[in-house]
Each structure stands twice: as C-alpha cells, then as structure tokens.
C-alpha cells in the first residue's frame, strides 16, 4: 500500500471547476510525492480549498485528470477517496460531537456489516496514537465535544490513519492552535512523513510553510502559478509576489501613521461579558480611527461584534456610545444609533437571494426608512457616487441574483449597503473572506476614506497581515479576554501570534512563571522584546519588592520600565541596576524548530542572592518549552 518515499503519488492536471456563476478552478495542477510535505498556498479565493476538495472527493471536478499511483481516478464521494487512501483534515472538523474519541476514530467502520469489537478498536487506537507519539494526548473515552481543538485535530488524523490513508490533506490546520500545539502538530506531520505519507499543508501563514514544507505549489485566481518548487529555493517576498501577483506593499500603500486620537471615544466597551465565548472585553473606538480586533478563530471576536450590533445579549459589562449608556436590543436599534455591520457569513447573514441586486444594496436603507413606501428614488444620486467609488458598474444593479456575483462583488454590494446609511461606526467581520486581491485593495481604500471623513471603523480579521496593514490600533482578544491594546505600528505578525495564543497554554506557562518567581523569591515575566519596546505576555511576582507593575498585555518602552537597563543590555548574565537595586536575567526562548517564543525574565529584589546565570538559563528554556 505504501509507496516508496519520493515517488509520485498523485498528479492532478488542468483541473477545472465552476460553481454557480463562479469559476473556482481554471487549470489547476498539483503533483504530490510520497514522504513529502507539500504546501499549497494562495490568497483567499485562489482556489486552494477547492483543489483540496477535488483531490479528497468532496467536490467533483468539471474537467482535467487526476492520476493516483499511476491510475486515473474519478471520485464520486469522499468515501471513494477514503477507500483509496486519501483523507482530509478540515478546518471545521467532521467529527460527531456526541460520540467518544474511539468511536470517532473508527466512525467509517460503522458502515461495515456485523458487530463492532470495542476492545480491538481501542487497541488499534492506542497503537495509532503511539505511532504518532501522542499516547496520552487524549482520552479515548472523552466525548469529542469536551476536548480541545488541537485534540480534535489529533482525532481526525487518527481517523485518517485508521483507514490506512497515505495522502493526508491539512486545510489550515493551525488557524486556531497555540504555538505549542502547532509544534506538536508539526511533530506529528514529521512522523507521517517518515511513514512515507504524502502531506498537503494548506495555509497562509508563511513562516509555518517555511518551517514544515519540502515543496510549494502556489495558486492564484484558480490556476497554479508555481508548481512544486523546492521550499529552499523560495523566500517570503517571492512567495507573496507569486500569491498576489504583485508586491503586497502596494495593497496597503495608503497606510498612514497613527492618527492623533481624539479625547472622547465614540464607542466604549467596558468588561463585556456573554459566556461562554466573551469573558471580559474592553476597548475604546474613536472617530476617524480604524481599530482592529485580532485573535484566533473562536476567540470571541465575532461575538463582540454581535453584542455591539444587538444580535446577541450581553450578560454583563457596559457599553457607552458618545458617553451615553448604550444597550442595543436589536440590529434595528443599533442602526438607529448609527452603527453598521458587515457580517462574516455573507450567504447566511447578508445576502437576500430572492431580491434583486439593487434591492440587496438598498436593504439597510429599507430597514432604516420610516415611511410607508420605499424611498428608493431619493437615493439615486448617492448610489451612483458610491458605485463609482467602489468601481462597480451601475448596470450590474439590474441583475437579479447577487449569488451569481463573485465574492468580491458581493462584498462590495454589502459594504455599499451600509455606506449608504453613513454610519458613525462601521463594524466589519472578516470583510475580505473569499474576496480577490484586487477587490480587497478597493475595499481597503474606501474604508480608509470613510475613516478619514470621521467614521469609526472596527474590523475583525484573522489575517494578521491585513489587520496590521489596515488598522491604526489592534486590540488582541484571546479566549474571550481583551489582553492587549497596541498601536499596529508596534506589532508584527509574530508578536500578534504570541499575543493571540489561547489562554489554556497561558495557564501552563503561568505555572512555570509562578514556580520560577517563588523559587527565587522574585518576579518572573514572559514578554516579547524588540529594539525599544516590550510586550508583556504574562507576569507573576512572588516578592512585592520585585514587582514590576506589568500585567499581561501591557506594553512599554524600555526606559519606562523599572528594568530598562537590563532590557536594553540584552546580556546573558544578570544585570544589576544600582538605581533601584533590581537584578534581572533575560532568556530568549526558541522552540525546537527555531520559532521565537519570546523572552523570559527573572527579576530579583534588592539584596537577594543572585544564582549562577548559565545553569538557570538552560533550566528556564527547558521548562518553558514544555509549557508554552
């Protein structure tokens, strides 16, 4: 069954696929070799998911050929693909939440006739997990709904291996994992490679792609623009250029520096709570500002937007609009207060398929309109201007089905729907999901323009690059807590990734910091340091004399902290600051794979015994790697 390492396992050529009115794939190709990890890259809407789904039998192709182990293949269903040894680990897992882990691993066996032997299934599940080096990572008897996202992924992988799959496709597997969970996943992928599996890794996190892949295929607008290039032959800039067809800098070209923030926020959230996903979220939004809500999928960002827009009731906390208490009961109420909301799921939350494109554009107006008739006429001029700005031709409005438009066109219409109301606050949840790169540029441009004219914009995006390029300031949300509020100019993707990591890993590293602080009767912190600023990710003080006044999420320039001398010195030894008597040791931690995991600091109060730095460094690195 297993092919020899390096031989061609699957070859897809000139694949085409159209959905209603949309050409998702126009001549896409992919060649996969046994024992190799192949990264499949592309911007949103480039067709990488569709191509993966064609290979895994979830979608039938319209044209082109697929050769698998040299034989032509035509899957009619995912089951055919599974039988052939091709499995896909999806973003939204395909597990049955009410069944146990072991039942899920062997779910495909349920269609076999005869009795199931739980004892043999259990034994085989143990073997599979042991092969992956994850013996005790998950209990076989837990219900899938009770385990973490990373554990679910492990179950999916085990499920694929139970079917003796030798081609496994990972579709954005790291989107909601913490850095240490990502490491573990990469270890698993490494083992799969050793077993001569072919791996497809779909992602848009470039640093991960470089860390794990052997070859890279890049897609753009439904076609393959670079096929099976060795990863070592490419660098990040080249990859981005291949993905977007031009330099990315141009897209965010109009990025301005941080704007002076006016005194009074137009919208303030104070300790918003709506369990289980929103636990404690605070931020201020000012006129003329683009504020980003960053974080991982499932961190509670969309739920915050829904609270602001009256789609979800809050259990606690305060909202202030222009300084007045604000309690939106319904979207209609929020709209009257001056809010607009471009929701994440266009098909479900925005598009009304049976109304014409014009009426879809005017739907927000219809909701806000107080008269009995329609009041469409009075808006003709405004619509014309708006369409011109969005580079839409007015005759498109007479088409009668918005669903026939591309994702980018749909999104422009939906954004125009809200701009027509001239909202004071516009909230956008993943506004460029499924939107082509050219349309993105015009969406960014118009958002900047309305912000420049005084509107406040709150944007939620899982694409850190977009968030950093567009927002003036980013509030990072993790596990329902707002943990940092940072000007985007001070952030980069790596820092954002660490800040956004789920708090479950935070609790483990908190323990390490607590132990460290207690053992030395000082304070311990975990932070990201750049040339002049620190971003505190966590901080524990056992001794009040060594308390630094940091908390998770606070940022400061070095000289503003009590240990500025040590932070600037970046020494391998303890640094003593005579002005306040504090001794500090900084240890940079990298993962086994060379990922930056930030720095650990240990601060000792005046007159504390100072231990030997070299042995301490090694032990800190060891303990922290295990905990992150």
């Amino acid at each position: 069954m297993m092919a020899t390492s390096g031989s061609i396992l699957l070859e897809a050529r000139d694949i085409t696929k159209s959905f209603v009115g949309t050409k998702a794939l126009v001549g896409a190709s992919l060649t996969l070799r046994a024992g190799q990890t192949h990264a499949l890259l592309g911007a949103n809407g480039a067709g990488k998911s569709t191509l993966s789904r064609v290979v895994s039998g979830h979608v039938r192709r319209d044209g082109g050929t697929v050769l698998y182990e040299g034989r032509p293949l035509d899957f009619r269903s995912p089951r055919d693909a599974l039988d052939a040894g091709i499995a896909m680990v999806m973003q939204e897992t395909s597990l049955a939440p009410d069944l146990s882990v072991v039942e899920n691993i062997f779910l495909p066996e349920l269609r076999r006739p005869g009795r199931l032997s739980f004892s043999s299934m259990r034994r085989r599940a143990d073997e599979i997990l042991a092969d992956l080096g994850q013996d005790r990572a998950v209990s076989l008897d837990s219900k899938v709904q009770d385990i973490s996202v990373a554990q679910r992924q492990l179950v999916e992988i085990a499920k694929a291996l139970a079917l003796k799959s030798n081609l496994i496709i990972f579709d954005e597997p790291t989107a909601s994992l913490s850095p240490s969970e990502v490491e573990r996943l990469f270890d698993i992928i490494g083992r799969l490679k050793e077993a001569a599996c072919a791996i497809v890794f779909v992602s848009h996190r470039l640093e991960e792609v470089f860390a794990i892949s052997d070859e890279i295929t890049v897609m753009r607008e439904g076609r393959t623009v670079a096929a099976s290039r060795p990863t070592s032959s490419l660098n990040q800039t080249e990859l981005v250029r291949l993905m977007v067809g031009r330099d990315l800098g141009a897209i965010f070209a109009s990025a301005t520096g941080p704007k002076p923030i006016q005194e009074n926020p137009i919208l303030s959230a104070r300790s918003l709570r709506a369990p289980p996903l929103v636990r404690d979220i605070s931020f201020d939004l000012h006129r003329g500002e683009i504020l980003g809500l960053g974080g991982l999928v499932g961190a509670g960002r969309s739920e915050v937007a829904e609270i602001l827009f009256g789609l979800r009731q809050r259990a606690g906390g305060d909202l202030l609009m222009d300084g007045e208490p604000f309690a939106p009961r319904s979207p209609a109420h929020a709209i009257r207060a001056g809010l607009g909301f471009v929701a994440e799921d266009r098909r479900r939350q925005s598009i009304v398929p049976d109304l014409s494109v014009r009426e879809n554009l005017l739907l927000g107006h219809l909701g806000a309109y107080r008269g009995f008739g329609l009041g469409y006429r009075s808006l003709d001029e405004k619509i014309r201007d708006l369409l011109q700005k969005l580079e839409l031709s007015p005759d498109r409005l007479d088409d009668d089905n918005l669903l026939n438009f591309s994702g980018g066109m749909q999104q422009k219409i939906i954004i125009a729907r809200w701009l027509l109301l001239e909202p004071k606050v516009l909230i956008l949840d993943e506004p460029t999901k499924g939107v082509d790169i050219g349309t993105r540029a015009s969406i960014y441009a118009i958002l900047r323009e309305i912000a420049a004219r005084g509107a406040a914009i709150l944007i939620i995006s899982s694409e850190f690059q977009e968030l950093l390029g567009l927002a003036d300031r980013v509030v990072v949300i993790s596990d329902g807590l707002s943990i940092a509020d940072v000007p985007s100019g001070d952030l980069d993707e790596e820092k954002l990734t660490l800040l956004a990591a789920p708090r479950s890993s935070m609790e483990r590293n908190q323990r390490v910091l607590r132990d460290l602080a207690a053992e030395h009767d000082g304070a311990a912190f975990w932070a990201i340091l750049d040339e002049k600023r620190m971003f505190c990710l966590n901080c524990v003080a056992a001794n009040p004399a060594a308390d630094l006044g940091f908390r998770a999420g606070s940022t400061a320039r070095f000289e503003e902290t009590p240990i500025g001398v040590a932070l600037s010195a970046r020494s391998n030894e303890f640094v003593f600051d005579p002005s306040n008597g504090l001794s500090s040791l900084l240890v940079d931690v990298k993962s086994h794979r060379g990922h930056e995991l930030g720095s650990i600091g240990l601060v000792l109060g005046p007159n504390q015994p100072v231990p030997a730095a070299s042995t301490l460094r090694a032990s800190i690195i060891e303990r922290f790697r295990a905990a992150v």
Binding site: V20, G21, T22, K23, E221, F309, L311, S330, P331, A332, A334, I335, R336, F341, A343, R348, Q349, S350, I351, V352, P353, D354, L355, E359, L363, G364, L366, G367, A368, Y369, G371, F372, G373, L374, G375, E391, S393, D399, D400, N404, F405, S406, G408, M409, R417, D436, G438, T439, A441, S442
Partner: protein, 329 residues
C-alpha cells in the same frame, strides 16, 4: 484598481438575458399555461367562452381568490396557514350572530376583526416563539371549526337580512361587486408587495430571515402581519360567501385551505419563502377554477376533479423544479 480585476471576476452572459428573463418569469409561463387551458376548453366546449360562463368563472374565483391573497403573504414569509378554511367558517358564524344584534356594516367589521385577531394569535405564536407554522395553524384549524359548531348551535344560520345580498350583486359596468372586490384586493395586494417597505420586507424575511434582521428590518412584525392579513381576508371571503347564499353553515370553507395553497403554488410561489407574486397567484386561481368549470362543462364526473387539480399541482411544481435555471438549495 485596474479594469483587469473586473474582467477576471466571473460575469454572467448578459446579452440574451432580456429574452430569457421574460421567459423565465414564472407568471409569464403560467399565463401561457392558463391560455392553453382556456383555448383547449373553448375548443372542447362551445359554452366555455360565452359571456355568462366567463362571468361565472370570475364569480367562482372570488372566495378562493381572496383567501389565496392572504395565503400568498404567509407563504412568502416561508410560513403556511392551514386554518383559513375553518377561520372562514368561524368568522361566518360570527357574522351571522352579529347580524342578530347589529346592522350589516358593524357585523361585517366584527367578522373581519375576529378573523384578524385569530391571525394575530397564530402569527404571534409562530413568529415570537419560533414555532412551526404548520403545527400552530393545524391546531387553530381544529379549534376554529370546533368553535364554529359550538357558536352556531350545530345548524345553519339562515335568518339573516336579505339586503346583505347587495354586497355580492350590486353591479358596476355589468360586473358583480364580489368580483370587483376580488380585483380591487388583488390590485391593493400587488401594490403593497411591490411598492412598499412592508411588502419588500415580507420578501426579504422569507428569503433570508437572518439577513433581514441584520439589515435592521422589523422581522417580528412582518412575520406576524401576513397571518393577520390571512385571517382578515378569510373573514372577507366568508362574508361574501354568506351574502351570496344567504345562509351560514358552520362547515363553510371546509378544505378551502387546500385550494388556496394549490393556487399559490401553481402561481409559482416557493414554499421555502421569498419567491412568488400576487399576479402569479391570481393566475393560479384562474387555472384551478377553469379546470373545475371545464370538467363540469364536459360532463366529467366530479369525482375526477380532485385528480385533475392534484395532477396540475404536482405538474406545476415539477415543471418549476425542472425548468428553473438553478436549483435552490
């Protein structure tokens, strides 16, 4: 942005659309079907095209036609109203009992008000508690019929003032007032659904409730309103029915819901909501009435009529699914 972006975005083939559009408009197809049936019947029966028969056709369309307006509103929101027949029966009894105490206009008003109240009751339960319209209106249907029997004392009410006849038989340009009422109500309903905020909201709610809510439309109000309209129009139909035969039977309007739903569906509305027109419904009503009338003229046993109507409903829905350019999810 450069023009290249626009050309890479998938475009629809626009040139032949105007013809296609005219053809794919369901009402146009159904109007075609109605004409085919009319021509066939006029060939088969010399009486079919006589003025007297055509006026008779219109007269026979009144009750089911008026009820079908309300049913169209309800079905556009993705709901269904099974209670229209029994509400017609009950509001007829309300009319009969009121006529014992009040003048005609007050009695008619009370009947229509009671119909609207019943619609409000069903609509509120369905929309506010998000209950299945099928089940709630099934319950109301049973309650309505039962109350009609109780209030009427299980017999027909025949002692009603004969002047109420004028509601049906006053003529204008040679057309009976019940037919004029039917046409006026269709014109109103058409204007409302096409040119008002409420009408477009009903479409939006039926097509995508979540999106309508997110856009700030009053989803709750416009989910309830169609049931109120349906209840009120059932009472209007009951009034014209009673006025025509000067007798009120608690069993009146039995199975009226089936004819009304059939007319709406033949007229091209989608039971998932969001799709359908009031003109389509009117054509659907005419198709049904013509077939009944034609089969009578041809001397076909009335027992075959159910099969004919049923066959047409199934054929209409099947044709819609097969001819429709894209399959709805």
């Amino acid at each position: 942005m450069t023009p290249t972006t626009r050309s890479t975005a998938p475009e629809m083939n626009r040139a032949p659309r105007s013809y296609l559009k005219a053809f794919s408009r369901l009402e146009v197809r159904m109007l075609g079907l109605a004409l085919v049936i009319a021509i066939a019947l006029s060939i088969l029966s010399p009486y079919f095209l006589r003025t007297a028969n055509l006026l008779n056709l219109l007269d026979q369309s009144v009750v089911v036609g008026i009820v079908a307006i309300g049913m169209t509103f309800v079905i556009l929101t993705g709901g269904i109203d099974l209670s229209v027949g029994s509400v017609a029966g009950l509001t007829g009894v309300v009319l009969g009992l009121s006529l014992h105490h009040f003048p005609i206009p007050v009695s008619v008003f009370l009947a229509v008000l009671s119909g609207a109240a019943i619609g409000l009751f069903s609509g509120f339960l369905i929309a506010y508690f998000d209950l299945a319209a099928f089940v709630i209106t099934l319950g109301v249907m049973a309650i309505g019929r039962s109350l009609a029997y109780i209030f009427s004392g299980q017999t027909s009410i025949t002692d009603i003032p004969p002047e109420i006849n004028d509601l049906v038989y006053t003529t204008l340009f040679g057309i009976q007032s019940n037919v004029l009422t039917l046409l006026a109500l269709y014109a109103l309903a058409w204007a409302y659904l096409t040119y008002t905020k409420g009408g477009r909201t009903i479409y939006a709610v039926g097509s995508n409730r979540e999106a309508a809510r997110t856009a700030g439309l009053s989803v709750l109000f416009y989910s309830i309103l169609p049931y109120v309209i349906s209840g009120a129009l059932s009472a209007v139909a009951a009034t014209l029915m009673s006025a025509q035969i000067l007798s009120i039977d608690p069993l009146a309007g039995n199975l009226l819901e089936l004819d009304a739903i059939a007319a709406v569906v033949i007229g091209g509305a989608s039971l998932y909501g969001g799709r359908g027109t009031i003109i389509g419904t009117l054509i659907g009503v005419f198709i049904m009435v013509m077939i009944r009338n034609g089969l009578n003229l041809l001397g076909v046993s009335p027992f075959w009529q159910g099969s004919a109507i049923g066959g047409i409903i199934i054929a209409a829905v099947l044709a819609e699914r097969l001819l429709s350019p894209k399959v709805r999810r």
